[in-house]
Amino acid sequence: MADKHVDDVSGVETTGHVWDGIRELDTPMPRWWLLTFYATIVWAVIYAIAYPSIPLVREATRGWLGYSSRAELTHDVEKAKAGQTVYLDKIATLPLAEIDADPQLRQFAISGGASAFKVNCAPCHGSGAAGGPGFPNLNDDDWLWGGNLDAIHQTIAHGVRYDADPDTRVSEMPAFQGVLEPKQIREVAAYVVSLTAKPSDPALVEPGKQVFADNCASCHGEDAKGNRDMGAPDLADAIWLKGSGEDAIVRQVSSPRHGVMPAWGARLGDTTVKQLTIFVHSLGGGE
């Protein structure tokens, strides 16, 4: 083992080990390779001192530079927030119409509103704001309480039938079961359907019209076009919140169901509600 053996052909010293007569050349590492290797060792020491590296019982060493990825994230978030402040301050102070008229501010509000919508509103209204049975579609041009900026803002801020907010929008359709004869309910349902589609029995329409005038027109209007002051839906359009067809109408007249929308003003703050307003208004149905 200890004897120095030099290979005849290459003139290079061997490692001294012999396997079945085969010897291995003890070729030195290339210098650049060795230097790089030493450099990595030096670098590792410097890195271990400068950055958090050695795990201890409770936490790792902190490192001279005091770096942490969490602090970096916090810093980034703060920086992003600082960048938003310019716009957010303007949105907080300017009226909705002016925000909507400024292209840059409008775009910012739409983006902010869209993200707030996904977090707070999507569970009921859907991620695309298309709603569902009982939950209004916010893309269309049919508005129970009005579709201009101020009306939308009022609805979002104070909610609908939300008792905790004194300014909430309130309306309630009476249950006509017991008030009207079942036959009358059938008739009025046939009449309402006849406004936009074909009723099951045309003979019911004429008496139904009278029932409607006597019982429903006070809220839904003589022409059944609804009344936004009372949140009474337009019955002469193609959009049915609680389901279309005579059976659905009979159900809703007999024992109406009412949705509740929470008031968001206190929870999200007015700046966010304003952004939500601009966003909802921009979906295509805004007035």
């Binding site: 290459s10 695309g128 704001a129 359009d237 193609a238 959009i239």
Partner: protein, 528 residues
């Protein structure tokens, strides 16, 4: 045609200076793999190829340093720098051409052309790229000019290098490395001007106002120029560059490469007269080592083709000078093809049956006889070269044609997916689209947007107007993309099915350019 032979002036070989020059990679010595680099002290060469190389150096360096300062008027809305890679705004300007990121295939095409160009040149004239135009070669040449000016030519440099560290040596080294570093800074400095408005950037750079990436780039390129051009030199070509390894696949027996014509040079002799008097065969080579001394790669071309050879042709110049002195024809070292070389070798050795016999290729006066084969230019026109040429031209023409016909107006449409459609209170169906109009000229334009193949449909563009319409004039910014939300509404009776294909049409106002986008209109499955 005779490429390389010219009559000599007719002195004897005693006028030839003999140089002690050992090649770094002599074929006779088995070099250990881990041997330290042998320093190379290239001697200054003089001759046709050296002249040509000075010219190439002048042209290439001029192109590199001057290009960013050329101006090109593009009107008030675009930069006036002729060649500008505007990374911040993602635009590339090249004289009359402006390229957007999605048109990057032009750059890919140029790269393919560069590749085929390299194949073409290598097939025809060997590693001409390496020997004349490669930045590594050009900058090493430039660094050698500095080295010679400060430290003297080969012998003086060798003496200085071997000598002790005197004051003289110290200041010469300091001056040399300082000038190298200045060249490095200028090289790196010129690079950044391709990426920003050059005059403004120069002012900013000098006053310390430029972006930190500019300083970092200059520092990095200064370091690489100094290290590659000054310190590493031939090692870059031999060990770092892949091209020497690839060239083998590119060359064939008809490629012109720098060749030592041993069929006329051997047996080489330092004492030709004595040998001749003794009746021994004597070739043209006087073994003066001039070819080794001038070689920037430090090799001996007489050992044959080798991967270190960058075909800079300086050994040809050195040898031609010697041949002129001793009154022999030029071209002992010359650009020659393997086919031609083999033919002459067969002649000199009687088809390999005997050792090289100078008498078989020389006449009684010592000049080359008529049987010697010379280079024929027509060998350039061979299928391989022509195919490379054709491919290169085809790509170039296709790109030029495409460039001449390309539209500077583009339309991209993103269909709303959630919701896919909206039912309006009237029963009409509405779809939403995000439209992106790309006005790719540096002038503001009004683009007219309309619908095709969707009868009865109307558009609403909320940012332009509250009212629906069938055609909207959209003002676009110069060289910018304009993004718009567009709603398309189709009355209930106009809905044909769940998915109706139609087109968005964007037109320049004067109708000179247009762009279409095939979109679809979604509606509920069942007609309500």
């Amino acid at each position: 045609m005779n490429l390389y032979t010219a009559p000599g002036t007719g002195k004897d070989e005693s006028s030839v200076e003999r140089l002690e020059a050992e090649p770094v990679n002599s074929a006779k010595i088995r070099k250990p793999l881990y041997e330290k680099r042998k320093k190379i002290f290239p001697k200054r060469a003089e001759g046709r190829f050296r002249q040509f190389k000075w010219l190439v150096m002048l042209v290439t360096l001029t192109i590199y340093y001057v290009t960013p300062w050329l101006r090109w008027d593009r009107g008030p809305y675009a930069p006036d720098q002729a060649v500008l890679i505007d990374l911040a705004n993602r635009r590339f300007y090249f004289f009359f051409i402006e390229i957007w990121p999605q048109e990057f295939y032009y750059v890919a095409g140029l790269l393919v052309m560069a590749g085929f160009g390299l194949f073409l040149v290598t097939t025809a004239i060997g590693r001409a790229w390496c020997g004349y135009t490669c930045p590594q070669t050009v900058w090493v040449d430039l660094f050698l000019v500095v080295e010679r000016a400060v430290e003297g030519d080969r012998n003086a440099r060798m003496k200085l290098d071997a000598g002790p560290w005197t004051f003289d040596k110290l200041w010469k080294r300091v001056v040399k490395h300082s000038i190298w570093l200045v060249i490095g800074v200028l090289t790196g400095g010129a690079w950044i001007f391709y990426f920003a408005n050059a005059p403004a950037l120069l002012t900013d750079f000098v006053t310390g106002q430029a972006a930190s990436v500019a300083y970092a780039t200059v520092a990095l390129l200064t370091a690489t120029t100094y290290i590659f051009g000054g310190l590493m030199r031939e090692q870059v070509c031999t060990y770092m560059c892949p091209w020497p390894r690839i060239q083998g696949a590119m060359l064939d027996e008809n490629s012109l490469v720098v060749t030592y014509n041993d069929w006329r040079g051997e047996p080489r002799s330092r004492h030709a007269k004595k040998a001749m008097a003794a009746g021994q065969p004597v070739g043209d080579c006087v073994d003066c080592n001039a070819c080794v001394a001038v070689c920037p790669m430090g090799i001996d071309i007489r050992d044959g083709q080798q991967l270190e050879c960058i075909t800079c042709a300086l050994c040809i110049d050195a040898c031609d000078g010697v041949m002129d002195k001793i009154g022999k024809e030029r071209g002992l070292i010359a650009y020659a093809t393997l086919a031609e070389y083999n033919a002459n070798m067969a002649l000199a050795t009687d088809n390999g049956t005997i050792a090289i016999d100078p008498a078989r290729v020389h006449d009684s006066a010592g000049r080359l006889n008529d049987k010697v084969r010379h280079f024929n230019w027509r060998i350039i026109y061979r299928p391989r070269v022509l195919v490379y040429c054709a491919v290169w031209l085809a790509i170039g023409l296709a790109m030029a044609l495409h460039l001449a016909q390309r539209e500077r107006l583009e339309l991209n449409v993103l269909h709303d997916r959630n919701p896919q459609f909206v039912v309006e209170s009237s029963g009409a169906i509405r779809n939403g689209y995000t439209i992106r109009l790309l006005n790719m000229i540096p002038e503001p334009r009004v683009i007219s947007l309309s619908l095709q193949a969707l009868p009865g449909a109307t558009m609403t563009v909320p940012t332009l107007s509250k009212d629906p319409g069938e055609r909207f004039d959209i003002p676009t910014q110069p060289d910018q993309a304009t993004t718009l939300k567009v709603f398309v509404t189709l009355p209930r009776e106009g809905v044909a099915g769940a998915v109706t294909p139609f087109r968005f049409l964007a037109e320049d106002r004067d109708g000179s350019e247009h762009a279409v986008y095939d979109a679809s209109f979604n509606a509920p499955e069942k007609k309500q």
